[in-house]
């Protein structure tokens, strides 16, 4: 196996773990962590493809990851603020219990 495949497999596993956590856990914070993991897995792909790509001097992969880290930081801040607001309203962070929009 070439190194590139190793990084891609690592990234795929991280993405799957993040997805599993986001889909199965009940706590909103853990769901957010799962989403962060998926974002990070995508970042790893960008860096790996940049390093093994044909034009590493273009820096596109690195730029994408830098912006992605910025977006992820903003996402985490807003997401956690939302969770705190939800907690204040419902007194729980359990997503199964926050279902007032259910028909």
């Amino acid at each position: 196996m070439t190194p590139l495949a190793g990084y891609l497999i690592l990234s795929a596993f991280l993405f799957a773990i993040g997805l599993a956590g986001a889909l199965t856990r009940r706590n909103a914070i853990i769901v957010l962590i799962g989403i962060e993991l998926m974002l990070n897995a995508a970042n790893l792909n960008f860096i790996a493809f940049w390093r093994f790509g044909e034009h590493p001097e273009a820096l596109t992969g690195i730029m994408f990851v830098i912006f992605s880290i910025g977006v992820a930081a903003a996402e985490a801040a807003v997401g956690l603020a939302l969770i705190i607001a939800i907690y204040r309203h419902y007194k729980t962070t359990n997503l199964d219990e926050v279902d007032s929009m259910k028909g």
Partner: protein
């Protein structure tokens, strides 16, 4: 594939699994910090120094701390006795396995993975800075705007309702005065 990469990958995946399965939320947050560190190490292995250090600075220094604070503010620090996984967990696992299968299949079938490691590319901080200020200046500005909006938005969302009402009332009475400038009077006549 070197032994360093194997160790890093193993640690990262183990920490990620721990972050998604542990019962105590603080343990989850600490485990996810280990995952972020493992990813930073992977970036460094791929000769992306700047991104690796930025990853540590942003994810371990800020996002992990933010998660930990959120856990404590929502009283998630105490281990609860209720179920960890939600009702739809079987469907979730199924979807995950399907995604993982497709991804693995795509990776192993792809022709890209046959490529060998090219010589170490030049990605100095100077180059990155130049690129950020020339070619990517518009995305940079947009990111700046986004971060500012996120900052203000997070503050407003997380603000307690009574504080928000207080601010609104004060602004109606005396424009320009905010909560911080008029703290409640102290009993002891003590000026800081």
């Amino acid at each position: 594939m070197g032994i360093t990469f194997t160790i890093i990958a193993g640690l990262t995946i183990a920490a990620a699994v721990a972050a998604m399965t542990l019962r105590n939320l603080i343990h989850c947050a600490l485990a996810v910090a280990v995952t972020f560190a493992g990813l930073a190490a992977a970036y460094l292995q791929l000769d992306a120094q700047f991104v690796g250090f930025a990853q540590i600075l942003v994810y371990i220094g800020a996002v992990s701390i933010l998660i930990v604070f959120a856990v404590l503010l929502t009283r998630g620090g105490e281990p609860s006795q209720e179920k960890v996984f939600s009702a739809a967990s079987v469907t979730g696992i199924g979807v995950t396995l399907a995604v993982l299968g497709v991804l693995t299949w795509a990776i192993t079938k792809s022709a890209v993975i046959q490529r060998d490691l090219p010589p170490q590319p030049e990605a100095t901080v100077k180059q990155i800075g130049d690129a950020l200020m020339t070619k990517y200046v518009l995305p940079l500005e947009v990111i700046g705007l986004l971060l500012t909006a996120a900052l203000i938005g997070a503050v407003i969302i997380a603000m307690r309702d009574d504080v928000a009402a207080d601010v609104r009332r004060r602004n109606k009475n005396s424009p320009g005065a905010s909560v911080a400038e008029n703290p409640p009077p102290h009993v002891g006549g003590y000026n800081n």
